[in-house]
């Protein structure tokens, strides 16, 4: 299946609102694949410059090459209605990238955590960080067909997921599967108590 990149660079004139979702997970778990499958544009990437101690830099004055490092960030876009566009950022989950998150996570609807059953534990740290930060998240198990996928209850226990956190199995190369994973996340965001509090505020 897969997306049909429109080849169009610019957004439709009517679009006024951008929403953002992070697609996070360990090395080679399928983040870029997932984003590209749902994206309507060719994969794009940019880089963030960070100091070695982890701060995102936006003013290069007085900072030398020795103290900075760059992190590649790939992203895609999907126009969802006349007014709204979704941006998806493939975000490395390794510890040294966590400060970059702070910036990316600002204003994000939530995060989708990708995991590989053959190495579930590689996705644990990222979940703890999301919980600390209070960013809504869902978990998508990417099926690499190498290990049999355990029953969902067992996976939920492994991740220690609260009952309301969505958990789906997914193939990052398949459009229906990736769309379904996104749907489960947004449904969760809509149902969250925070969302209700906002409504009544």
């Amino acid at each position: 299946m897969g997306s049909e990149p429109s080849g169009e660079v610019y957004l439709p004139d009517t679009v006024r609102t951008a929403v953002k979702v992070l697609v996070v997970g360990p090395f080679a778990v399928g983040k870029s694949t997932f984003v590209n499958t749902l994206s309507e544009i060719e994969p794009l990437h940019t880089e963030e410059t960070m100091t070695r101690d982890g701060a995102v830099v936006d003013d290069l004055h007085g900072i030398t090459d020795k103290t900075t490092t760059t992190v590649a960030l790939d992203f895609g876009r999907r126009t969802l209605s006349d007014r709204v566009v979704l941006y998806m950022f493939g975000t490395p989950g390794q510890q040294r990238f966590l400060s970059m998150w702070e910036d990316l996570a600002h204003g994000a609807l939530g995060a989708l955590v990708l995991a590989d059953v053959a190495r579930l534990e590689d996705s644990f740290d990222v979940i703890s960080v999301l919980e600390d930060r209070g960013l809504p998240y869902g978990v998508a198990i990417n099926d690499f067909n190498t290990v049999e996928i355990p029953p969902h209850e067992e996976l939920r226990e492994a991740f220690d997921l609260l009952p309301e956190i969505p958990l789906v199995t997914c193939d990052a190369r398949d459009r229906s599967a990736t769309a379904r994973a996104m749907v489960s996340l947004v449904e969760h965001v809509l149902a969250s108590p925070l969302q209700h509090a906002r409504e009544s505020a």
């Binding site: 957004l11 982890g54 003013d59 992203f75 876009r77 966590l98 702070e102 809509l190």
Partner: protein, 120 residues
């Protein structure tokens, strides 16, 4: 197979505090997904080549800051600063991102959800 458990590791790996020392309190109104458009009456004569490239790209239609950075092959952070300057000078304008201050409302989320469901 019994999968490993996340909480078992907590004794070993404490949850990280994302401190990260934000180096730049000034420009943080511009997000990577802030949408940008060129304004009609901008006079580019005093701009640097880099700024003109940005204006030329943006005059074709609206784009996010992340896309501007990607197309110009500039670091996101540098792009953010340059776009902020161009907005201050009236060459570029940001489209509404009001909800980003308070979080998305129900109506917006429902629209996102409907759009995603149509993709399945």
């Amino acid at each position: 197979m019994s999968p490993p458990r996340r909480r078992d590791r907590e004794a070993l790996v404490r949850p990280y505090l994302i401190t990260g020392g934000r180096a730049h309190p000034t420009r943080n109104t511009l997000d990577l997904t802030t949408l940008i458009q060129a304004t009609r009456h901008a006079d580019p004569s005093l701009l640097s080549p880099e700024q003109r490239r940005t204006l030329r790209l943006c005059s074709g239609g609206s784009l996010s800051i992340a896309e501007i950075a990607a197309h110009l092959e500039l670091p996101a952070s540098v792009t953010r600063v340059m776009v902020a300057d161009l907005v201050d000078q009236g060459h570029l304008a940001t489209l509404s991102t009001e909800w980003q201050q308070h979080g998305p409302d129900r109506e917006l989320l429902q629209e996102v959800l409907d759009g995603l469901r149509a993709l399945r």
